[in-house]
Symmetry: C2
Subunit: 345 residues, 2 copies
Amino acid sequence: MTSTPSPRVTIKDVAARAGVSKGAVSLAFNHKPGLSEATRDRIFAAARELGWAPSLTARSLAGARVDVVGLAICRPAQMLGLEPFYMEFISGVESVLTERSCSLLLRLVRSPEEEAGLLDSWWKGRQIGGSILVDFRADDPRVAAAERLGLPVVAVGHPSLTGGLTSVWTDDATAVTEAVRYLAALGHRRIARVGGAAALGHTGIRTAAFDEAARVLELAGAWQVTTDYSGEAGARATRSLLTAAPVDRPTAIVYDNDVMAVAGLSVAAEMGLSVPGDVSLLAWDDSQLCRLTHPTLSAMSHDVHGFGADAARTLFGVITGEGPGSHPVPTPVLTPRGSTAPPKM
Amino acid sequence: MTSTPSPRVTIKDVAARAGVSKGAVSLAFNHKPGLSEATRDRIFAAARELGWAPSLTARSLAGARVDVVGLAICRPAQMLGLEPFYMEFISGVESVLTERSCSLLLRLVRSPEEEAGLLDSWWKGRQIGGSILVDFRADDPRVAAAERLGLPVVAVGHPSLTGGLTSVWTDDATAVTEAVRYLAALGHRRIARVGGAAALGHTGIRTAAFDEAARVLELAGAWQVTTDYSGEAGARATRSLLTAAPVDRPTAIVYDNDVMAVAGLSVAAEMGLSVPGDVSLLAWDDSQLCRLTHPTLSAMSHDVHGFGADAARTLFGVITGEGPGSHPVPTPVLTPRGSTAPPKM
DNA sequence: AGCGCTTTCTCAACCGGTAAAGTCCCAATC
DNA sequence: GATTGGGACTTTACCGGTTGAGAAAGCGCT
């Protein structure tokens, strides 16, 4: 059962086998000039025969770059499972990391403060070469932490939240405005929004944009509530919005993610209201979920995978000192499906 | 803007500040005997003042254990976003890792072969101290790879799939049997199962168990199809099952995850069939999603978070050489909700 | 006082790489 | 023929810790 205890093969073994010095092996494996083709081949052959790959640990200790990118997520564990957003975002990040043989160091944290501390130890411990920061709040401690450390990061969030950090973000204000305009154009005058976590910066941006859009369009009714993004909370919020008398209740509801919209749909069904007959629902983030319900959910859709990939690419830009710098990603676009229609009267 | 470029503080600085040698600092930080209380305090004080934390990179190079656990996931990126399973599993893993100040190294791969190679380089590169292996297939190359490397791993999968590796698993056969028995007890005689990816080992186990249960219970009709776990595939499968003439089609369908069950629910609605009146649906994995639909979905429910935590704890057991060893986790239990009932006639 | 024993620390040799400086050899130039 | 200039490697000094082999100091005991 217990096979040979794996005698670790090191650069020295490879050097010996190829009949060269450690330095030569290092040069070969980093594709640096100063070696003849013949030697290079001999070294690679020796490495292949021995099944050797350079130890990233040692490499990073010796001052070279670190091939690991950090990502800390600060949300209650339970919610993470359901939110398709993160996994999709992560898979986008991964798609870029994989191209460059990098790995992702993931950690769930409970607060931005804890995350700031984590970044500190990750960076000082040379565990990561850079980090992706998500879910910004007002006065986020991570901005100062990253700057103080000189840690290369890309901040996923609007520049108004991310201080001077290189950022990628979605234009939430425009998207919210478009969502409200669309519903208003259908004829809705009483519109509600079931928002995400109040503490999150982009929730604030969306809330302000919704207010502004409601003012400009002179809506007869505009409600906003914040939740914790969970389906349960979305259901609760929907229930409370729809229990008002028909003339007072919203005829359209915008949700800040798709899980809450799905929950809202089922609440409408449970209350005997038809969608989109009695109430229109508009989701956000548009994962596959929106196409699996009946009726299908209209959504502000959004290439989350691409968003993650973009964030990762931008981070590499920061690390190498070139590349794009801060920029917005494409604004979510309205994808009408079966859950939105003009109000009945 | 550019603050001080963060002059890295090392063990030497701490040693100097505390007036001791590097070795002493090392002893203190590893809680090893041989230092007086006074010196110990002095060292910790110095470290605190300097904001120093030991470099895990250097530490692991020097032969100490590595505080990182690997996890590679081999599924198409797109599906990952929607499958609540993984994020919930990961959050369970994290909950245990966090207690021990460990991090998770995550990577999405395209094949078990690629994963085997990744484990090789992670381990040889001393990037991980152990790994969690999921989604076993028949003759999985990772079994041999882990054994050859002497890499501490915990395999998430039935022992029949994981070779001699320390494993944790759910008893899928029993769970499937229970699901079928339950539906049969309600009076269903024509039952279908929409399974997951055929290549996956546990899909095979469930398929065999379903066949066996159908045989034992002498069901009049038993269908099984395999899918890729996506909602789309679940919808397609459901559609094709339900288009048969009423007397020939299944009156109950079991799904291998909850996303496909949600999709199935919407297909039934779209076809004008009532759930559970015309057809009963039973989901698997029971994320929050099952409680957000209308009707709510009955499910074989399953503490996925706890499963992840258990896997992580077992891995630590393997690493330290003590702990539980291979064991099953609690079998999923049937949670009846609104989507299952006796068949109409 | 001399001897052995601890306890408390220091020293120096690694761990497995990287990178700057140094060595050698040979062709080209003055 | 001596000098210069590279190309092709090797040497050596780290990177930031750990670790085992001492060394110095304090203490009890004969």
